[in-house]
Structure formats: C-alpha cells, structure tokens
C-alpha cells in the first residue's frame, strides 16, 4: 500500500511541476483531481472537526450523563440556533426563498465587524502606536538614537502616505514620499526574507522524489 501511495504521490508531484513548462493534459488531470478531492476532503474534515464535536457531541454527551434525551435536548437548546441558521443558509440554493439566507449572513457579518472594531484598536492600533513611542535621544548610544529617529520618521512618513483627503503636495507630499521609500525598503526586505523558506519547500519536494520514490539518495 505504501509503495502504491508513493507512486501516486510522485506522479501527482510531477504532474503539478509540469505546469511550469506549460499547460498540458497531465496538469489538467491533476488540477481537476485536486479540486475534486480537496472539495470532498474538506466536507469530511469539517464534519469531523467542527460539526460533530460542536453540534452533535454535546447532545450525545448529555444523554450519556443523564440517560434522558429530553434533558439532553433542553440543556443544549441553544445549539438549535446555529443549527437552524445553518439550514437556513442552505436555502440559498432555492431562488424563491434565497433571501432568508440573508439573516445568517448578517449574523456572520455582524460578528466579524463587531470583533474587528475592538480587535483593530487593541490588537493593532494601540500596540503599534506604543511601540513607536521611543526616546529620540539615547545617552551613550548614537546608534540607538539614530535607529529611534529613523523609526519615528518612517512611521510618520508611511502614515502620511495613507492620508487621503488632501493633495500630496508641499509638506504632506514630502512626508508621503519618505513614507513610500520606507515602504519600498520594507517590501524588498520581506521579499528577500521569504526566499529561504520557499526554497526549503522545493528542497522538500525534490528530496521526496529522489529519496522516497527513486531511492537515489538516502
């Protein structure tokens, strides 16, 4: 079984790589298989890790503890809300009553937007502002002083770049220009920083082909 599996895996690996040369029937085959298998895979995965433990197991567990389905249903009554909303969501597939599905959609959008309000302030805004509040003069260390000043200028500049309601001319123009320069350095740096991890991935794949499949290397 393992040998068959490795041959399947090796074939699929090469099929995906063939895409780098050009689109071809082998890639098309692998691509369609991938989309189909993974679409099915996630239905089972979500059942097994979300729906069963979150929606069904509570009923089963209460029943096991109390020995009565009535108690189980009443104790977990709150779970009927997401269950009903989930079913309502599926009505989307029937055009005439599709509009009902707006209710659960609104519920989900509301959760997302509500959480984002506090999370944006607590998780992003405040920590970023706080981390920028550094002393501009550090006694005894010219280098730290320099870094701190640069940090401050960079932050203010790049915030300036995102100022929308005024033409970027004069002082604001200069500021946003500084901002965009910092942003470019940052993009270049994170690009360069990622190269290593990406090459590691390829090493992993090539090693699989040479070692596990062809046994060319140990």
């Amino acid at each position: 079984m393992t040998v068959v599996g490795i041959w399947i895996a090796a074939f699929l690996t090469l099929a995906i790589f063939s895409f780098l040369y050009k689109d071809n029937p082998v890639y098309k085959f692998a691509e369609h298989l991938y989309v189909g298998v993974s679409a099915g895979y996630y239905v089972i995965y979500v059942w097994s890790t979300d729906i069963r433990p979150l929606l069904f197991n509570p009923f089963v567990q209460t029943h096991a503890q109390t020995g009565s389905w009535g108690a189980s249903l009443s104790q977990n009554a709150a779970l009927f809300i997401p269950a009903v909303l989930g079913v309502v969501m599926l009505l989307r597939a029937f055009p005439k009553i599709a509009w009902v599905s707006r209710w659960p959609i609104s519920f989900m959008v509301g959760i997302g937007a509500g959480l984002a309000i506090t999370a944006d302030v607590q998780g992003y805004l405040f920590p970023q502002v706080q981390a920028t509040l550094v002393p501009l003069w550090v006694r005894g260390s010219l280098f730290t002083t320099f870094n701190n000043v640069l940090l401050f200028v960079g932050v203010v500049g790049s915030v300036g770049y995102f100022y929308f309601s005024r033409e970027h001319k004069g002082f604001l123009g200069g500021l946003s220009k500084i901002g965009i320069l910092f942003i470019m350095v940052a993009f270049g740096a994170s690009f360069g920083y990622t190269v290593m991890a990406r090459i590691s991935l390829l090493i992993g794949r090539i090693h699989f082909l040479f070692a596990d499949w062809l046994h060319l290397i140990r």
Partner: protein, 273 residues
C-alpha cells in the same frame, strides 16, 4: 551587444530550469557543507545527550504536512540521536493531521535503528483539546490515552508500564509549526516543571527565542538551518545538511538573475538614448 540586451527578457522557463537544477544537483551529488553550530541547537543536543540510557523522552508532533520540509528533518535528527543514546520515545501530537507525518518519521527511524515497538518506543496518537490534554497528562497518561494509536492498551506495552505522568518523563521535545508550543510552556513547563526543547519553523524561531532567554526552554532548533546543525552534531547528514548548499545556490542564482536583468535593462536603455 545584441545578445546582452536580450538579458532583459529571459523566458521565465529558463529561470525555472535554473532553480530546479541548482536545488536538485547538490541534493543528488550529496554535496557537503559545514554549518556553524549555534548555542540553542547545541543545548538541545546536550539536553538529550546527557540523559541516562533508558530515560523516557516525549516527542510532540505539533505540525502537519504543510511545514513538513522544515519540521520533518528536525524530528528525524532528534529521534536518531535519542535512539542512539538508547532513550525511550513516547510520540504524541496536538494537531489532528500531524499524526500521519509524525508516525512516518518515527517508523522510519525505528526501522533504521532496529528498535522495537512497545519496548523502545510507543506512539500514543492524537486527542483533541490541546491544553486539557496537556494538563491531564500531568496526573495520569491513561486518563487521556488509555491505549496507543492502534488501540493497544498501554498496560500491555512493556515500555510504558511504569510511566504514568510527567514525573516519569525526563524531557519533552516539541516539533512545532504554530502556537501550540506556548501552550506546552504555559500549561506544562510552568505547572509540572517538565524540561523542554522545541524545534520550530524558521519564521517562528525569533518569537520562540524569548522563552529560551527566560530559561523556560532548554533548547531551540529553528528551521532547516537548525535541523542541519543538529544533523551535523549527530554526524548523520540528512535533508537539512543536504539542503544548505541548495539554499545558498538558490539564493545566489536569484541574485545572478536580478543582476543579469539589470545589465540588460541598462544596455537597452543606453541604446534607446
């Protein structure tokens, strides 16, 4: 000069071919490089090396296939070292899809080093609940894992007959791709004082470093480079060490292409002017 100007528009498939070659060739040729051993990896090595034979080491598989290229070499190197020192291994994991990859590595190394299941190593498997699992293992492993991953009762396995909780385990090695390792530190290192070392992806390593400084971790293996260092310490080159020349060559090739592109660009611009 015309061919030089063509450098500005190389068909990207030549670039793809170049990348494939420089990464594949060093692997195939088994090129050897030496890596500098950094203290966090050295400390992990020593934590295992100093354990008396027969000590139980727990290995936690907290990653899955997506970070296998980085995490798997660490697992293999640590397992090889532990088996070489005749330590006993208990494998378990907190990621639902981590068990297949962890088992793959464990079985491979065990076969290689002629170790016997149930005597030298045991595979507990996966149970959902991360923090709850961790805390419960502190009282009795059997509360969480009454049997191993194949359903064999723990009491029928020679090696774990007398292993009940963290008191019977000398070291935890977590192979990590997410924030599960912080749970290990918070719920187990802090509460039960279990000694632990972590192998993390390269991206996570800088964050994990602070736990090393605070003494909550005895060692840290970061990314493929860390795995390479470990392989070099146990003198058993694997994918980590083999990958280092490929890494350097890959970086060099990309830089070379950037330079070529710029030469082409400047030449064609001069021509126009």
């Amino acid at each position: 000069m015309n061919w030089l100007a063509k450098l500005e528009k190389i068909d990207r498939r030549w670039i793809f071919l170049g990348v494939a070659l420089v990464v594949a060739a060093p692997l195939l040729l088994g090129l050897k490089t030496s890596v500098d051993i950094t203290p966090p990896v050295k400390n992990t090595y020593e934590a295992i090396d100093r354990l008396p034979p027969g000590s139980v080491v727990m290995v936690s598989i907290d990653y899955d296939a997506s970070t296998m290229p980085e995490n798997q070499p660490m697992l293999l190197a640590v397992l090889r070292h532990a088996f070489q020192k005749n330590l006993k291994i208990i494998l378990m994991g907190h990621w639902p899809l981590g068990l297949p990859v962890g088992t793959l590595g464990l079985d491979q190394v065990a076969r290689e080093m002629h170790k016997t299941y149930g005597v030298d190593y045991v595979n507990l498997g996966f149970r959902p609940g991360t923090a709850a699992v961790m805390v419960n293992l502190g009282t009795e492993i059997r509360n969480v894992f009454p049997s191993d991953y194949k359903g064999v009762p723990l009491d029928s396995l020679e090696m774990v007959k007398n292993v009940h909780n963290y008191n019977d385990i000398r070291l935890l090695v977590g192979i990590e791709a997410g924030d599960t390792y912080e749970f290990w530190i918070i719920y187990v290192q802090a509460r039960f004082g279990l000694k632990m070392a972590m192998g993390t992806t390269a991206v996570m390593a800088p964050t994990a470093y602070k736990y090393l400084q605070s003494g909550q971790l005895v060692g840290l293996i970061g990314g493929l480079k860390g795995a390479a260092e470990y392989e070099s310490l146990i003198a058993h080159p694997g994918i980590g060490l083999a990958g280092m020349p490929a890494q350097s060559a890959g970086h060099l090739l990309i830089i070379l292409f950037i330079i070529l592109g710029n030469i082409g660009y400047f030449l064609s611009r001069r021509k126009k002017a």
